[in-house]
């Protein structure tokens, strides 16, 4: 029954066009802590995009195509030139806050395009968007971006924003940038309506903190990719490091039924990522301790994640991703698939 109930959470994101102010009226603490997080900034309007504000003229050369992203007031324009020809289009949204990088989307000829050049924080400039390696543009438009089908565009906005997708169809007019309350708490609208009506029974909603490990990973995996999605795609190699639920599931200490190791064990879904690596030691120690007579590390007693969750350099991403496949890393051993 619980699994059947859980399937309700995994329905495509369908939300009314609204921000989270209705939720914040009662859940002010969660809302205020969540707003500055990278997830809440997963989609940015151009007037608020700090990266493009502080980098008003970015450029990128790919074969005969020269791409520039230039600032004009509150907007930014992608221009591709090749010889005497040029193609310009305004950027619609920026995807990602830019900790690792930022990709852009634009609208052209009735479709949504993903920019072929992305901004990378490490280099402070543009390079090929992840996934476009190995492809060659044949036109100015292709050099500017990759046309997304309606389904792919809906999925993209479904994770980077809320309120944008209804019935699998993208409605740009109702985009609320960033992940919102409704992205995870799918019954939030019903809950809010019931609260307004004073109907306590109808206001009850699933308590996500009660989910088992597998259920939590399935929920977070709707955007960060589930184990099944990556396994079905047959992905392999360091590319999979970006998909944390998949990697965590492959950890020896992961147990589908055990709540002690799931995404929320280490990550507060309403808060910022904790960058103090030593702070995670207590999480490991909750299971691995001499007091519990469980296996403990013979090498060190602190900073567990620095060895057991190594940073992996993903080629082309200009960023080191934390590998969530918790393991004993042996020198020279290949990346475990």
């Amino acid at each position: 029954m619980r699994w059947a109930l859980l399937s309700l959470f995994f329905a495509p994101v369908v939300a009314a066009a609204a921000d989270d102010s209705a939720c914040a009226a009662c859940h002010a603490r969660e809302a205020s802590r969540f707003r500055p997080t990278p997830m809440a900034q997963a989609l940015q309007t151009l007037d608020r995009c700090d990266i493009l504000k502080t980098h008003p003229d970015l450029s990128f050369q790919e074969g005969p195509y020269h791409t520039r992203i230039t600032r004009e007031g509150d907007r930014s324009i992608i221009t591709v030139t090749s010889g005497a020809e040029s193609f310009s289009v305004p950027i619609l949204y920026a995807l990602g806050q830019g900790k690792a990088g930022q990709t852009y989307v634009f609208q052209y000829d009735g479709a949504i395009y993903e920019s072929r050049a992305s901004f990378y924080n490490e280099t402070g400039g543009l390079d090929l968007t992840i996934g476009d390696q190995g492809t060659t543009p044949h036109t100015m438009v292709e050099a500017a971006g990759r046309r997304m089908g309606p389904g792919e565009a809906a999925n993209c906005f479904g994770c980077h924003s809320n309120g944008a997708v209804a019935g699998g169809i993208l409605h740009l007019e109702s985009v609320v940038p960033g992940v919102g309350c409704r992205s995870c708490h799918l019954q939030a609208d019903k809950h809010a309506a019931a609260v307004r009506a004073g109907n306590v029974a109808a206001a009850k909603m699933p308590h996500l903190a009660d989910l088992a490990a597998e259920e939590t990973l399935e929920l977070c995996g709707q955007c960060h990719r589930t184990w099944a999605q990556i396994a079905r795609a047959g992905m392999h190699g360091p590319n999979t490091v970006r998909f944390q639920p998949y990697r965590l599931t492959n950890s020896k200490c992961y147990d589908v039924e055990d709540q002690r190791l799931r995404c929320t064990t280490c990550h507060d879904p309403h808060g910022q990522i904790n960058t103090n690596l030593a702070s995670y030691d207590a999480k490991c120690g909750a299971c691995h301790s001499t007091a519990l007579h469980t296996k403990v590390c013979s090498v060190a007693k602190e900073n567990c994640v620095t060895c057991h969750m190594p940073k992996i350099d993903l080629p082309g991403a200009h960023h080191k991703f934390t590998d969530h496949q918790i393991r004993i890393v042996k020198a020279g051993a290949p990346y475990p698939n």
Binding site: M1, W3, A4, S7, A11, P12, M148, G149, P150, G151, E152, A153, G167, G168, I169, E214, W227, A228, A231, R232, G234, H236, T249, N250, D255, V256, E257, N337
Partner: protein, 378 residues
């Protein structure tokens, strides 16, 4: 594929000759009732003929031809299930009656019971191997069932005898492309195109592109076919598939629905629409589509797998487990089935079994990757 089925639909019909005597002249004698039934049947009063045949058979139940005609009348009225019952009764008395067996096969075919139709037609073709129409209909059944190899075996000798038959070229080309024999299939496409542009040829070229996962190329071919003949059977099902794979799901859904409005039993349209609807969490309609697809191809792994996934979504883990275990035992290399089986086991609190399935998936994916790497290094 309906090209053949539609052309052969006229085969089902009266077996008795009609003397043309009205019931009023023969009073209520059994012979008079039968004559009246035949007259009504010939005049197109199918409901009246059915009533009269039934009346006659109540009095003379052993008349095989009258029972067969009742089957034909029921079939014409669209009541295939009852027609099948009557044909079976007739065949119990005359098992070797090939015209009745052929009519029974047609009733099965029209009732979308393609496996049963094929079984009956195999009997007819075995008895009359030189007759073209049963061979074509049986080939069409094989194509609908996805049994391309059987269709190729059946059609190849016929195609050698009649090399200029475009309908035959089309069917054989479909079977060859469906079987992965793309080069041989495209030779037939070239032959069809030799006499000018044709929707059938573009459909086949599109199918060939689809099997090579060149979805954009397939889309172009299907658009050309649609420009020539938008009502070509099966075309919208394949067109929708190309649209869905190039990301235009709303247009894909419209194409599938158009195909199904013409032919509710089209396997491709049912299966692909089911997948689209599953993605939209419209599980009830998705299930109906997969069930229809499975009715067309009772052994189809794709439809069985998708139904098992829907069972998982609905919390019917035990049902899903049984189906998925069958799928992995039939094909231990089926990664998708192993993945879903792991989920089923977890839902059933069989954690160790679930973990084993996941470990198997990682092994299978690693083996696949190793094979790809080995191929690349050669």
């Amino acid at each position: 594929m309906l090209v053949c089925g539609r052309a052969l639909a006229g085969l089902a019909g009266l077996i008795l000759s009609i003397p043309g005597v009205a019931r009023c002249q023969g009073a209520d004698s059994p012979e008079g009732v039968l004559r009246h039934a035949l007259q009504l049947h010939q005049a197109g009063d199918i409901a009246g003929a059915i009533a009269e045949y039934r009346d006659y058979l109540n009095q003379v139940p052993d008349n095989v031809m009258a029972r067969s005609n009742l089957g034909a009348a029921l079939s014409r009225a669209g009541n295939y299930e009852d027609a099948i019952v009557e044909y079976h009764k007739a065949l119990e008395q005359q098992p070797g009656n090939l015209p009745i067996r052929m009519n029974l096969a047609l009733a099965y075919y029209k009732a979308a019971k393609t496996s049963q139709a094929a079984a009956e037609l195999e009997g007819v073709v075995a008895e009359r191997p030189g007759e073209r129409q049963p061979v074509l209909l049986l080939s069409d059944c094989y194509l609908r069932l996805g049994e391309n190899r059987k269709a190729i075996d059946l059609l190849t000798p016929l195609q050698q005898q009649t090399p200029d038959d475009k309908a035959l070229d089309y069917m054989l080309g479909t079977a060859l492309i469906g079987d992965g024999q793309t080069a041989r299939g495209e030779l037939l496409v070239d032959r069809i195109l030799r006499d000018g542009d044709s929707a059938e040829a573009h459909l086949l070229m599109g199918e060939s592109r689809l099997s090579a996962k060149d979805f954009a190329g397939a889309l172009e071919e299907f658009k050309k076919a649609l420009a020539i003949n938008p009502q070509l059977p099966s075309l919208n099902g394949y067109y929708g598939t190309a649209l869905a794979n190039t990301g235009d799901t709303p247009a894909a859904e419209a194409a599938f629905r158009k195909e199904l409005a013409w032919d509710p039993n089209d396997y491709v349209a049912n299966f692909q629409l089911g997948k689209l609807l599953e993605g939209d969490a419209n599980h009830a309609e998705s299930r109906r589509c997969f069930e229809r697809a499975l009715a067309m191809r009772p052994h189809d792994r794709g439809a069985r797998y998708e139904l098992a996934r829907l069972d998982l979504e609905a919390g019917q883990a035990e049902q899903a487990r049984a189906a998925l275990e069958r799928l992995v035992s039939e094909n231990p290399q089926d990664v998708d089935a192993h993945i879903s089986l792991a989920t089923a086991y977890y839902q059933l609190k069989r954690k160790q079994d679930g973990n084993k399935q996941r470990a198997l998936v990682l092994e299978l994916n690693a083996a696949k990757q190793a094979a790809v790497s080995a191929g690349m290094s050669k």
